[in-house]
Amino acid sequence: MADQYRIAQPKDYYRQFLEKDVRPDNRGLGEYRATVMNIGCVSTAEGSSLVKIGNTTVMCGIKAEVAEPGVDGKNGYLVPNVELSPLCSANFRPGPPGELAQVLSQNMADLIADSQCVKLENLCVCPGKLVWVLHIDLVCLDYDGNLMDACTLAMMSALKSTSLPVVTVDEESGEIKTDPSSRTLLPVSCCPVSTTLIVFDNKLLLVDPTSEEESLATGAVTVVTEGKNVCSIYKPGGTPLTDKQIRDCIERGFIRGKEARSLIEETLCSVDR
């Protein structure tokens, strides 16, 4: 009976839970789903990670290539793309990326640019001749809401684990040589973490929404924090929020940021061992 009610009257169903400050999956309003991370799971990629937030699963693989630099002569390229394949949800069909995938890809690119976590000049192999191109591909394997946070976490942990083979350019002949046996770690200066909240019924804030909660939401806020700084606040429309509510979102973002960063560090340590 409860299942039918949930399908027929999802909002009422949620309201009955939320009145008692609990969500249907037993979480509190400000509680994240269990987050699991695996780093270095794809050995064909220069950096890789798998992140699960509840059911939502995102895999990130970073493939490094070399190319000639642009006009500035020293900046490398970071090319993040999010793939929402038809595999991850019945809502997606095969073909070129849809609106959501494009927005997520752009969000990832903005995140890198805003936080400056990987400086483009650090991707220079030989000034004026050769730079690195890092193709950061994020593949969603299971879509159960809050893809933004899963993607950021997957991307940052993959970047932190990325190691590049040593490439040298001969000064005189211009010949390029790669030594696959020795590798260097990619310098990552900081680790931005995003926290997404949705607005339910124009008043309640729910952290880490599932796909069902996302479909019922009247608005969303994503806060990206980096250490003690706010890196970005992204609220694409929806219900107007008071300053206090936005402050609460930022506070929650800082707490989540701390948790997520220690999770990445722990996972990196356990992989190194």
Partner: protein, 230 residues
């Protein structure tokens, strides 16, 4: 048909001399600049100009039909080339803003389409687009639960905050933030940021933008009354 209005230009110039960072650039609008649409407006904020048109409520494609409310569609056309992911992000932001403002339940199974054409981006483009779209919706007499006003601020390297930045300010600055406020309680409908900023800078920017948003609302009212009186 066309009506140009300039809001408080004398005031603006006077203020510009005293406090050049804390004023909006000159706002001008031309309501009903196109005739075949239900609503159209060309809005300039300083040198930044965008064109917004509204169609609707009209018939909706079956695949996008919603049985209990109208489908809000928003198309952003960049000045050159095809829309890229960055333009899609703009579309998503504006679409969710107007989904919240338009009372969609009044027109079930129909579509309200907003088309934005970037004409000239010389700073604060997103804010200009949002304001243009809101004015176009007013021109088309679409029912809204509140109006929205967008105001951008930029943060310079030394932490100085500038209202309604020009392209130059945006490029030089460390960060820029676009705030969108509702007309009822002046709460925040949308925030889009780029670059790094501190919480103090955010707060200062928010206050500055909120104050300026009232001028934008006044401008909307003046523009509309100008149109109706004529």
């Amino acid at each position: 048909m066309a009506s140009f209005i300039v809001v408080k230009k004398e005031d603006l110039e006077k203020k510009q001399n005293v406090e050049p960072c804390h004023t909006l650039r000159c706002l001008t609008s031309e309501l009903g600049c196109l005739t075949r649409q239900d609503g159209s407006v060309s809005l300039s904020q300083g040198d930044t100009t965008s064109l917004a048109v509204v169609y609707g409520p009209a018939e909706v494609r079956i695949s996008r039909e919603l049985i209990d409310r109208a489908t809000v569609e928003l198309v952003y056309k960049p000045k050159v080339g095809l829309p890229r992911p960055a333009d899609r992000k703009r579309e998503q932001i504006m679409k969710s803003i107007f989904e919240a403002t338009i009372i969609t339940n009044l027109h079930p199974r129909s579509s309200i389409t907003i088309i934005l054409q970037e004409t000239e981006d010389l700073g604060s483009n997103l804010a200009c687009c949002i304001n243009a779209a809101c004015l176009a919706l007013l021109d088309a007499a679409v029912n809204m639960s509140f109006m929205v006003a967008a105001v951008a601020v930029s943060v310079a390297d030394e932490g100085q905050i500038k209202l309604d930045p020009s392209k130059n300010d945006e490029e030089k600055g460390r960060a820029s933030i676009t705030f969108v406020f509702d007309s009822v309680d002046l709460n925040v409908v949308s925030i889009v940021t780029s670059g790094k900023f501190s919480q103090i800078e955010y707060k200062a920017g928010l206050e500055l933008a909120r104050e300026a948003s009232q001028k934008v609302f006044q401008f909307f009212k003046d523009s509309m009354s100008r149109k109706l009186i004529r």
